[in-house]
């Protein structure tokens, strides 16, 4: 079932620009969905696949977004073949640094410690940036130099959409390779019984740090694309607010599957877009979202995807001999 859903989602994303070619607003909306689903995916790799409660994914997203904005402003450079890898490097290194501090200490960290640590990181970064003139302080950075490839500059539209979709497809393929590998088996074991795995000889915290860093790279890529696409970035792009939104996308769609975060992001973003037209509802949207999340967490912890995919399929099998059932 899962491969069918994955295929259907990607097929839908491929045909969307052909169906909506003359609806720029909708192309922009779906481009946003694609970019933000990368952020949701990065949270899922942490929480859904490795049991790391990260409430700071926006930190890597936001910092990378600022970095490409500043490179554009101060170096007048925005070639995507260099700036997108740079954004991944920034996100990855930042996450690795945080992982050394939060995960690789002498004592085994509790998930509460990690949750507060990442949350605090995001919060501190947001405050710091909001007061820092060089990066635009509270106003953020606007009129960001357009993402370019050679002489071609990407504005909102089908071409940008194609770049974002290619990024998602690559990240998705890499993540899929990871979670279905023998390392994915270690992650699956780890999130069920961390202690037991240590007695097999696994350095559980190192595996976590590796995944956390990889997720940081993905969040960084997402943040760079987001800055370019919006033409703007601000302090709230690296704070707890957006970090929590990523959590919601993921849990809503279904954590522990790679396609879940994509579906969750699409569902929530499209719903907000539709409802934002109605003033009466827009005001209450955060409340509605909160209630929906509560309902999901309480009654459908495996998210929307849990309605279609059994937990057995979600967790998967890893041996050479594929299970017959």
């Amino acid at each position: 079932m899962l491969p069918v859903i994955e295929l259907a989602v990607f097929a839908a994303l491929v045909v969307t620009p052909f169906l909506l070619a003359d609806r720029t607003d909708l192309i922009t909306l779906v481009t946003n969905v694609i970019i933000l689903s990368l952020l949701a995916l990065s949270f899922d790799l942490c929480w859904g696949f490795s049991g790391i409660m990260s409430f700071g994914q926006a930190l890597f997203f936001g910092v990378a977004g600022y970095v490409v904005a500043l490179v554009g402003r101060d170096l007048e450079f925005s070639q995507l073949w260099a700036t997108l890898p740079l954004a991944m490097l920034v996100g990855g290194l930042l996450a690795a640094g945080l992982a050394v501090f939060l995960l690789l200490g002498k004592r085994t960290p509790s998930s509460i410690f990690v949750a507060f640590g990442t949350l605090t990181g995001a919060y501190a970064a947001e405050r710091l940036v909001a007061g820092w003139q060089y990066v635009g302080a509270g106003n953020g950075l606007s009129a960001i130099r357009l993402m370019a490839f050679g002489d071609y500059e990407f504005v909102e539209g089908v071409e940008f959409y194609a770049v974002a979709l290619a990024a998602l497809a690559l990240v998705y393929a890499a993540s899929r390779y990871l979670v279905r590998s023998q390392m994915g088996l270690v992650l699956a074991g780890m999130r069920q019984n961390e202690e037991r795995l240590a007695f097999f000889g696994y350095r559980v915290q190192v595996f976590k740090a590796l995944v956390f860093s990889f997720a940081g790279m993905i969040a960084g890529l997402s943040g760079a694309l987001y800055s370019y696409h919006q033409g703007f970035t601000g302090p709230s792009n690296l704070g707890p607010g957006l970090s929590t939104t990523a959590v919601i996308y993921c849990l809503f769609g279904g954590s522990g599957t790679l396609i879940g975060p994509v579906i969750g992001t699409a569902a929530i973003e499209v719903l907000s877009y539709v409802l934002a037209d109605t003033d009466a509802i827009r005001q209450f949207w955060p409340v509605i979202l909160g209630v929906v999340l509560l309902v999901v967490v309480a009654f459908q912890p495996s998210g929307l995807l849990g309605l279609l995919v059994s937990s057995r399929e979600r967790i998967g099998s890893y041996g050479a001999r594929k299970a017959v059932r």
Partner: protein, 244 residues
């Protein structure tokens, strides 16, 4: 040189001395039974050897290395393996994947990411499952196994990385007499591969498979010796009559 040498180990929980100056020596290739009444410190001792907690004082030497303060993953890499009293198979994974997980622990990060040993280990996984009569359950979830089968799976997993010393805490707990008998049969041949420290309540079971016994009572060693020596020890008799 002994494979395992526990010297003067104490473990203090607040006012309670769960272990009170334990000495224990286990030779390579022997089965060593640990007996004693409930609460005498058997599990606490095994956990200290495995690294689940650190002893308050004392030292533990394993294979000529001081492992007293080593993290569990390093002990495992040095050849120590265990099954705790509470079974901890990974219930959401298949029986097959449980064993694969135990077997592949020596692989490096890159090799795991590239699934280098997936094909190669297949035969070993199935061999381990056959040995413990679980081959036809390979595709079932570990959580679907009976309690006794889960114990076997755990032993199979603990043996998979070819340890030098295996620690088993009550492997027949909750088993039927028939399952118990089979467990004894399954354990006997592993003597060729590794030494064993086993905690068991069932005295007949442990007498049958062990070479030596150590009796614990209230965190102290009451006696150590061959099965015959311990059986003839009046103090041991006393403990076991007291318990009943």
């Amino acid at each position: 040189m002994a494979l395992l040498r526990v010297s003067a180990v104490t473990k203090v929980y607040g006012p309670l001395k769960a272990l009170d100056g334990i000495d224990l020596t286990v030779e390579a290739g022997t089965f060593h039974g640990l007996i004693g009444p409930n609460g005498s410190g058997k599990s606490t001792l095994l956990k200290a050897i495995a690294g689940a907690h650190l002893p308050t004082t004392g030292s533990i030497l394993f294979d000529d290395t001081d492992i007293t303060a080593m993290p569990p993953y390093q002990r495992a890499r040095n050849g120590l393996s265990l099954k705790f009293q509470i079974t901890a198979v990974l219930t959401e994974l298949s029986v097959y994947d449980n064993v694969l997980l135990a077997l592949q622990s020596a692989e490096g990060y890159g090799a795991l990411l590239r699934s280098r040993s997936r094909q190669r280990l297949d035969a070993e996984v199935m061999q381990a499952l056959e040995r413990f009569r679980l081959a036809d359950r390979a595709d079932d979830l570990a959580g679907e196994l009976s309690h006794g089968e889960q114990q076997w799976l755990e032993i199979a997993m603990a043996l998979a990385p070819r340890p030098k010393l295996l620690l088993l805490d009550e492997p027949t707990g909750g088993m039927s007499p028939e399952e118990r008998r089979v467990t004894g049969e399954l354990l006997t041949p592993i003597k060729q591969d590794c030494a064993l420290v086993i905690v068991e309540h069932d005295l007949d079971f442990i007498k049958n498979i062990c070479d030596r016994l150590t009796v614990l009572d209230q965190g102290r060693v009451l006696g150590t010796g061959t099965v015959a020596e311990i059986e003839g020890d009046a103090r041991v008799q006393e403990i076991y009559t007291r318990r009943v």
